[in-house]
C-alpha cells in the first residue's frame, strides 16, 4: 500500500513543480526589481527606458520575452558586462582638475575645499555601491546596527530565558496576570510608546547612546521571547531537573546546566527572531538616536528616501547589501531549525 502513496505520477509532480515555480517567480519578482534599481544611476524607481508595446498582431514572440525579462534584469549591469568600461575617460578627468586649483584667488578660504571636492568621477554600473561606502557612513551604520542588535538580542534572550524558566517551572501569585500582560503587550500600537520610552531613557541619562537603544530594544523584544521560550520549556520534562535537584543541585545550576543546554534550538529561534527584529527596528532608533555616527542602517537608509530628494539607486543598493547578512543568517539557521523540525513525530 505504501508504494501507491509514495509514488507520484509524472504529471502530478509536473503540476507541483509548475505551481511552485510560479510561486517562486511571484516571490522573487520585487527582489529582482530591487537589484535592477540598485544598478541604475537615474535615481528613479520606475524603469525609464520602457518603450510602448506594439499593438496586438504586430507583437512578435520576442517582444513578449523582452518585455518580461527587461523588467527584472539589471540593464546597466548587463551592458557593462558586454562592453568593458573605457579607461581613457577616467584618466582624462584628473588632469583637468590639476590645472584648476592654480586659478582661484588665494584670499578665498573656500578655494582649497572646492578644489578637493571638484574631482568628479564617472558613473559606472556599480557606482551606487561604491558611493555607499565612500561617500556615506554606510559601513559605520552596519557596524552600529550589528553591535546594537547583537547586544540587545543577547541581553533580551538572557532576561527572557530566566523569566520564562520562572513562568514554566514555578507557581507564584499573579502569574496569570503577568502572562496575560505579556500577551497583551503584543497588541500595543507601536507609536503609542514613543514619547514615554524616550522620556524614561532620557531620565536614565542614556539618551543618544548605544546603551539607551540597547536597553530599550532588549526590553521590547522580551515579551515575545518569553512566550517562545516558555512554550518550549513547558515541553522539557521536569523530571530531569528534579533528579538533579535530588542530587543536590540548586535551581539556578539546574537551569543553567540542564535546561539551557537542552533548549538550544528554542534559544536559537528566539535569538533569531530577536535579532531580525532589532536589526530592522526603526521607530525606537529614530526616537533615541541623534548622532549621525551612532545611527543604525535603518535610519541611514532613510536618508536616501526623502520625499523630494529620494535617491532610489543608493537606497536599493543599500538594501541589497543589508539583506545579504539577514538572508545568510536566516538561511543558515533555517537549515538548523528545519532539521530540528523534521526529526521525530507528534508526541508533544
Amino acid at each position: 500500500m505504501s508504494s501507491t502513496l509514495m509514488k507520484t505520477s509524472l504529471s502530478r509532480s509536473l503540476v507541483v513543480h509548475i505551481l511552485l515555480s510560479v510561486a517562486c517567480i511571484v516571490a522573487t519578482f520585487p527582489i529582482f526589481r530591487v537589484i535592477a534599481i540598485s544598478f541604475r544611476n537615474t535615481d528613479t524607481v520606475s524603469a525609464s527606458s520602457q518603450t510602448s508595446f506594439p499593438a496586438p498582431g504586430q507583437a512578435s514572440f520576442d517582444d513578449y520575452i523582452h518585455f518580461y525579462t527587461d523588467a527584472i534584469l539589471p540593464k546597466e549591469l548587463l551592458t557593462a558586462l558586454k562592453a568593458p568600461a573605457k579607461p581613457t575617460a577616467q584618466l582624462a578627468t584628473p588632469k583637468t582638475d590639476e590645472a584648476a586649483p592654480a586659478a582661484p584667488k588665494s584670499d578665498d578660504p573656500f578655494a582649497e575645499l572646492d578644489a578637493a571636492s571638484e574631482q568628479k568621477s564617472e558613473r559606472t554600473w556599480y557606482s551606487n555601491y561604491t558611493d555607499l561606502f565612500t561617500k556615506h557612513l554606510f559601513l559605520q551604520w552596519i557596524y552600529n546596527s550589528l553591535i546594537i542588535s547583537l547586544s540587545a538580542s543577547l541581553i533580551g534572550i538572557i532576561l527572557a530565558a530566566t523569566a520564562a524558566y520562572a513562568f514554566s517551572r514555578f507557581e507564584f501569585p499573579g502569574k496569570k496576570l503577568a502572562s496575560g500582560f505579556l500577551f497583551m503587550s503584543q497588541m500595543i500600537p507601536g507609536p503609542l510608546m514613543i514619547i514615554p520610552v524616550y522620556l524614561v531613557i532620557k531620565s536614565l541619562n542614556l539618551g543618544n547612546t548605544y546603551a539607551g537603544l540597547v536597553v530599550a530594544m532588549s526590553v521590547t523584544i522580551l515579551p515575545f521571547s518569553i512566550m517562545v521560550l516558555k512554550g518550549y520549556f513547558d515541553t522539557v520534562p521536569k523530571s530531569l531537573e528534579e533528579a538533579a535537584r535530588v542530587d543536590g543541585c540548586t535551581a539556578a545550576s539546574a537551569f543553567f546546566r540542564i535546561l539551557l543546554p537542552l533548549s538550544t534550538p528554542a534559544l536559537a529561534i528566539a535569538f533569531l527572531f530577536a535579532f531580525t527584529n532589532a536589526w530592522s527596528e526603526f521607530l525606537l532608533a529614530s526616537t533615541l538616536i541623534d548622532n549621525v555616527e551612532l545611527r543604525p542602517w535603518t535610519l541611514g537608509l532613510m536618508e536616501f528616501s526623502g520625499s523630494y530628494d529620494a535617491r532610489w539607486g543608493l537606497f536599493a543598493a543599500g538594501s541589497v547589501v543589508i539583506a545579504l547578512p539577514t538572508m545568510s543568517l536566516f538561511l543558515y539557521s533555517s537549515k538548523y531549525v528545519i532539521s530540528g523540525l523534521t526529526v521525530g513525530g507528534v508526541k508533544g
Binding site: T28, F170, A251
Partner: protein, 432 residues
C-alpha cells in the same frame, strides 16, 4: 570610509557595568524585602519610602503621573510581599526580577503614562508646558473629550466605524490568504520525493527576509498607473492571452477582473493593492509554520489511513488539518494581531496618507493625530485600538475554550501560551 569601533565598545562596557549594577541593586532590594517582609512596620516603611520618593521626584519637576507611579511601586511591592509572597517563592522571584524590572520601566510605565495622557489635552500649544512642568489641561469634562472625538464623524467621511470595518476586512482578507497560500505552498513543498525542495523553500521565504520598507516602496512604484510595471504587465499579458474570434477580440483575462487600473486614485483598487503587497509579505511566515508542522507528521499515519481506505481528500481533512491546528491557530492569531496593527504597509502604500480610502485604524491614528501633534488624542485613539484587540483575543480564547481542542487552560494563560506554540510545538520532539 572609516569606521569608529572604539566608542561602541566603550559604551558596551559601560552598558554591561550599568546592567550589573542594576542587577545587583535589584537582587539586594529583593533580598532586603525577603528579610524584612514579616517586620511589623514593613508596610508603613514602604509607604513612607514611596511617598518620599514620589515627592522628591515631584519637587524635581516631574509630573504627578511620574510621582504617582513612584509612590505606587514601593507600596505595591510591599503589599505583594506582605500578602501574597509571604516569604515564599524565592527562586521564582530571583529569576523573574530582571525581566520584571525592564518591563515595568519600559512597558508598564509608558502604558500608564499614555493612559493618563489620553484624558488630557496635550497638543502643540501645551506640549512644552507638559514636558517642562508636568502640567496638561484636562480634555473637556471628565477628560473624556479625546475618547468622544475618536468616534465622531469626520468631514472626509472616513468615520471611525468605516475605518474599523475596513480594518476587519483587511485583517480577514490578509489572514485568509496568508493561511491559505501558506498552507497550500507548504503542502506542495511537502510532496514526497520532491526534487529541489530546499531551493524552493529558500526562494519562497525570501519575501520575509527583505526589509519591509524596501519591498513596499518597490511595489508602490510598480503600481503607478502610467509608468508602473503592474499596469504594463497586465496590458501586455492581456494582449498575449487575447485572440480574435469571428471579428471580435476575446480577452479571457479581463473577464476575471485582470485589467489596468489607476491604483492610487480608486480607493478600492488602492485597498486591493495594499492587500496584495501585504499578502506577498506575510505568506512565508505561515508557510514556514505550516511546513514545520507538516513535516512533523509521520508518514506512517497516512499509510495507516490509506490502508483503512481513506481517500486523499479525507486524509487531508481528518489527519492533516487536525494535526496542523495546534500550530496554525496560534500562528494565525499572532498574524492577525500583527496585520491588524500593521502601520508600514498601508502607510507607505498611501504615500504617507496622501491617498485616501485605504486607511486602517493604525494608519488613521497616525494621520489624525501625529500630523497635527495631538498627543492626547493619539493616546486615546491607541487605547481604543488596544481595547478592541484585547476584546477580540478574549472572545477568541473563549470560543477556543468551548471546543474540546484547547482543553483546561484558563483564557489568559492560554493566550500567553498559544503564541509560544507556533514555534515551539514543532520543536517539541527534539527536546523530549
Amino acid at each position: 570610509m572609516h569606521v569608529n569601533i572604539t566608542p561602541a565598545l566603550i559604551e558596551l562596557c559601560k552598558l554591561s557595568g550599568i546592567l550589573l549594577l542594576i542587577l545587583g541593586l535589584a537582587y539586594g532590594y529583593l533580598w532586603l524585602n525577603y528579610k524584612l517582609w514579616s517586620f511589623r512596620l514593613y508596610l508603613l516603611c514602604k509607604i513612607m519610602l514611596g511617598v518620599s520618593l514620589g515627592l522628591t521626584l515631584k519637587s524635581a519637576g516631574s509630573s504627578w503621573l511620574t510621582a504617582g507611579f513612584a509612590i505606587c511601586i514601593p507600596i505595591l511591592v510591599g503589599c505583594y510581599f506582605r500578602f501574597f509572597l509571604k516569604g515564599r517563592y524565592h527562586t521564582a522571584s530571583y529569576f523573574l526580577a530582571p525581566a520584571v524590572m525592564g518591563i515595568v520601566l519600559l512597558f508598564l510605565y509608558p502604558l500608564c503614562y499614555e493612559f493618563y495622557l489620553s484624558f488630557h489635552d496635550l497638543n502643540l500649544n501645551t506640549f512644552s508646558g507638559w514636558i517642562q512642568e508636568g502640567k496638561a489641561p484636562l480634555a473637556g469634562a471628565f477628560g473624556l473629550e479625546n475618547y468622544v472625538e475618536v468616534f465622531q464623524n469626520r468631514a472626509t467621511g472616513q468615520s471611525f466605524f468605516i475605518v474599523f470595518l475596513r480594518t476587519i476586512l483587511w485583517t480577514a482578507i490578509n489572514l485568509f490568504f496568508h493561511v491559505g497560500l501558506g498552507l497550500g505552498l507548504a503542502l506542495l513543498l511537502n510532496t514526497p520525493n520532491l526534487k529541489g525542495r530546499a531551493l524552493y523553500r529558500t526562494i519562497l521565504t525570501l519575501p520575509w527576509v527583505v526589509p519591509q520598507v524596501i519591498a513596499v516602496l518597490v511595489w508602490r512604484a510598480d503600481f503607478n498607473e502610467s509608468v508602473g510595471f503592474i499596469n504594463q504587465f497586465i496590458q501586455v499579458t492581456n494582449q498575449l492571452c487575447s485572440f480574435e474570434f469571428a471579428g471580435q477580440t476575446i480577452a479571457p483575462l479581463t473577464w476575471i477582473g485582470f485589467q489596468t487600473q489607476s491604483w492610487f486614485l480608486n480607493p478600492n483598487a488602492l485597498f486591493a493593492a495594499a492587500c496584495i503587497v501585504n499578502i506577498w509579505l506575510g505568506v512565508p511566515f505561515m508557510m514556514i509554520n505550516a511546513l514545520g508542522a507538516l513535516q512533523s507528521i509521520p508518514q506512517s499515519v497516512y499509510e495507516a489511513a490509506a490502508i483503512d481506505g481513506a481517500k486523499p481528500f479525507q486524509r487531508f481533512l481528518h489527519i492533516t488539518l487536525p494535526l496542523l491546528k495546534p500550530v496554525m491557530v496560534p500562528a494565525a492569531m499572532l498574524g492577525a494581531i500583527w496585520t491588524f496593527n500593521n502601520l508600514n504597509v498601508i502607510f507607505l502604500m498611501t504615500d504617507g496618507g496622501r491617498y485616501e480610502g485605504a486607511d486602517i485604524l493604525v494608519t488613521d491614528l497616525f494621520k489624525q493625530s501625529f500630523t497635527y501633534y495631538r498627543y492626547g488624542f493619539a493616546a486615546a485613539y491607541s487605547f481604543v485600538i488596544f481595547a478592541i484587540l484585547c476584546l477580540f483575543t478574549f472572545l477568541q480564547s473563549r470560543v477556543g475554550k468551548e471546543k474540546p481542542a484547547a482543553k483546561k487552560r484558563p483564557p489568559l494563560a492560554d493566550g500567553a501560551k498559544s503564541s509560544g506554540v507556533p514555534l515551539s510545538t514543532p520543536l517539541r520532539s527534539t527536546g523530549a
